[in-house]
Each structure stands twice: as C-alpha cells, then as structure tokens.
Symmetry: C2
Subunit: 237 residues, 2 copies
C-alpha cells in the first residue's frame, strides 16, 4: 500500500499475564519486605479487582513468581511474599560469586581491550569520597560494574542467572550497603579486577572477582540482623 505507512511490527507476544507478572514483581521488589509490620499476604481476587482483570492472568503471574522464589502459594491459605532467610542470602551471594568468577575468567579470553577499558571508566566514576557521599548512586554503579563483567563473558546464561539473584538482593542491598567504609575498599578491589582482566590473567581475574564478592558474603554474614524469627512467626500464621 502506501509506502509511507511503515508501522510497528506488532508485539504479538503481549498478554495480560506477562504484563501483570512484571507489574507484580516490581511491586514486590518495592515492598519493604523486611519491615516486620509489612503485610506479606497477597490476595488474588483483590489484585484482579484492582487491576480490572480476571483472576486467570493474575494466577499465571503468581505461578511464575512462585517459581522465581518471590512468593509462596499455600493452598486455601493464601499467597505470601517470601523473606529471604539469612542462609538463603548467604547462598545467593555464594552462587553469585561462582558465576561472576567464571565470567571474569571468560572475559579475559573473550572481551576486547575496548570493552575492558570501559570497565575502568565505570569503576573510576566515583572516588572514595564521592562514594561515601552518594551511597545509593554508588550502589547502582556498583551493580552495573558487576553486570558488565557478566556481559563481557559473552555467556548469556551466566548473566541471566546472576540477574535473577540481583533482583532478589535489591531489598537486601539497602541494608547491607549502608556501611561507609565498604565502598572505598570496594572501588579499590574493582580496580584490581580490571587490572587482572587487562593483563588477560584468567586465574587472577577469577580469584579477585570471587574474593571480592565473597567479602561481601562475609560482611553480610557478620552484620546481618537476623530476621529469621520474624519470618518464622509470619510463616506460621
């Protein structure tokens, strides 16, 4: 027809279920999950009513969220947003370390000099003083740095799994990253990782990356305010 009429390829994959999944996940991630006063219960009918749709797509989204580990569906009891226990958070960080360590190793073989150089730009954006001043901003840049390493591995699955973990850690970060002296040390360690990558030293890059993340692991382990009791209390109800 009219050659001037070139339109959208039409997103044929759209569905309410997909949309609600994203909406609900964001909503859950924005919840103050670790606030003892937060009501962790979700109501299928209330949700479908609020969203002006039927229960079916809502339930589809909930099934997916359950598999992602965000909620728990208890038959004829209710749907509950899950808190991560201390142990689960430790394990998530451990897996993250495993994945990113491998990613760094692969990056030494697969990433271009230009790409590695871009990492330096990301890490250097904040001096230690700036980091102290803008914790939240630093936290974002920090995550971006780690995600970039995952990307440079050119292994999609490594990054995909890690991204899932990062989502779960979003709420955790607010608590754990609030320490001031960690950020400056973190920046220094990032530089170390970059130097290993630049040297194309696979073993060293893997080691530095792993130890960097495992230091966060140990830090959280030592400073985490245990909410397991609260979790149990709520789970029992």
């Amino acid at each position: 027809m009219a050659s001037t009429l070139n339109l959208r390829p039409v997103d044929g994959t759209f569905s309410l279920g997909d949309h609600i999944y994203g909406v609900l996940r964001e909503a859950i991630l924005d919840m103050k999950v670790y606030d003892p006063e937060t009501d962790l219960r979700l109501d299928e009918r209330a949700l479908s009513d609020a969203l002006k749709i039927s229960r079916t797509p809502v339930r589809e989204a909930l099934v997916r969220l359950e598999q992602d580990g965000f909620v728990e569906v208890r038959a004829r009891k209710g749907v509950y947003v899950l808190r991560k226990s201390h142990g689960e958070i430790m394990e998530m960080i451990t897996v993250w370390a495993a994945l990113e360590s491998m990613a760094a190793r692969l990056a030494t073989e697969r990433a271009s000099d230009t790409e590695i150089a871009s990492l330096r730009a990301m890490a250097g954006r904040f001096g230690s003083d700036d980091a102290k001043a803008h914790i939240e901003e630093y936290s974002e840049a920090n995550i971006a740095f780690h995600q970039r390493i995952l990307e440079l591995s050119q292994c999609t699955m490594l990054k995909t799994i890690a991204d899932g973990l990062f989502l779960h850690m979003r709420a955790v970060r607010r608590k754990a990253m609030a320490e001031k002296d960690r950020s400056s040390r973190s920046v220094a360690e990032h530089i170390g990782i970059i130097e290993a990558l630049e040297a194309r030293d696979a073993d060293r890059a893997a080691k530095e990356t792993r130890e960097h993340t495992m230091r966060l692991h140990d830090h959280v382990r030592d400073t985490w305010i245990d909410l397991d009791e609260v979790t149990k209390k709520n789970a029992a109800g």
Copy 2:
C-alpha cells in the same frame, strides 16, 4: 469409622497442577527431542483430554515448564518443546562448571573426612574397563558423583541450579557420553578431584573440578552434530 482404615496423612500440598508439571516434564525429557522426525508440538486440549482434567492445571504446568526453558508457548500458535542449541548447551556446561567448582571449594572447608571418603567409593565403583562396558550405568554413577560434590558444599542453591541444568542435559548426555575413551579419563580425573578434596586444597579442588567439566565442554563443542538448522526450521513453522 472403621479403625482399620487409616490412610494417607493427606498431602495438603497436592494439586493437579503440580502433578501434571512433573508428569509432563518427565514425558518431555523422555522424548527424542533431537530426532528431526519428532513432533515437538504439544496440544493443551489434547493433554487435558488425555489426562481427564481441564485445561487450567495443564496450562499452569505449561507456564512453569516455559519458565524452566523446556517449552515455548506461542500465542494462538501452539506450545512447542524446545531444542537446546549448540550455544545453549555450551553455556549450560559453563555454568555447571562454575557452580561445581565453587562447590568443590566449599566442600574442602565443610565436608567431613567420611563424606569425602564416600566420594572415593563412588568414583572407584567402576574400573576403566567396566566403564567401557556399561556406558549407561557409568553415566548415572558419573552424574551421582558430581551431584554428591554439590551436596557436600552444603549450599542448597548451588545444587538446585545445577540439578536444573542436569535435567536439561539428560537428552544431551545420550549423545555426548557415547564416546568410549572419555569414561576412563573421566574416572582418573575424578580421582584427582577427590585427592584435592582430601588434601583440603580449596584452590586445587576448584581448579580440577572446573577443568574436568570444561573438558566435557570442549569435547561437546568439538563433536556436537549441529542441529541448529533443524531447530530454526521448526521454529519458523
């Protein structure tokens, strides 16, 4: 009523959806997915009819299977069992190597001498000759060995994710493990891993484990008969 009638404590978590999920997953794993003549299409209504249930629990199972990466649901087209591409298989093995390498590292700190000794029993069950004779049996023992290492890490998430990968690799193994000379070398490498664990040498255990799995990676990379073309052809239809 009749005191002779004491039955199941009633699994309160039972649901058709859960059950169908397991049934369908097993059925998919038993399919000859890589046989070009296999019909990869699933029919919601045919399934629900065959299982004598409604579409609802079937759809719930399909949603979960889609998130697991076993099937793809295309709106108003159909549900299709997915073939793993060459690249995806490479990535799965890479992630596996990353996870198990970390698991071996943790095992050097967390596993008891007795537990590590049990590994030696598992690995020694088959001499190299036996291995050649009973490929299938060896393959099972091989997987069990690797799963045991994951367990000894005492990191549930490492094992959970790895188990998911193993499921996807089940069909692949039939093709890749059919090489004879691999099994004897594999047994030798297992011994090497065990010795590193016994020596409580974290770095060495991690390295041996990673390199062992990455050798499978390289082997599959070099010998895999590429079915990507077939996959594309089917995906287009």
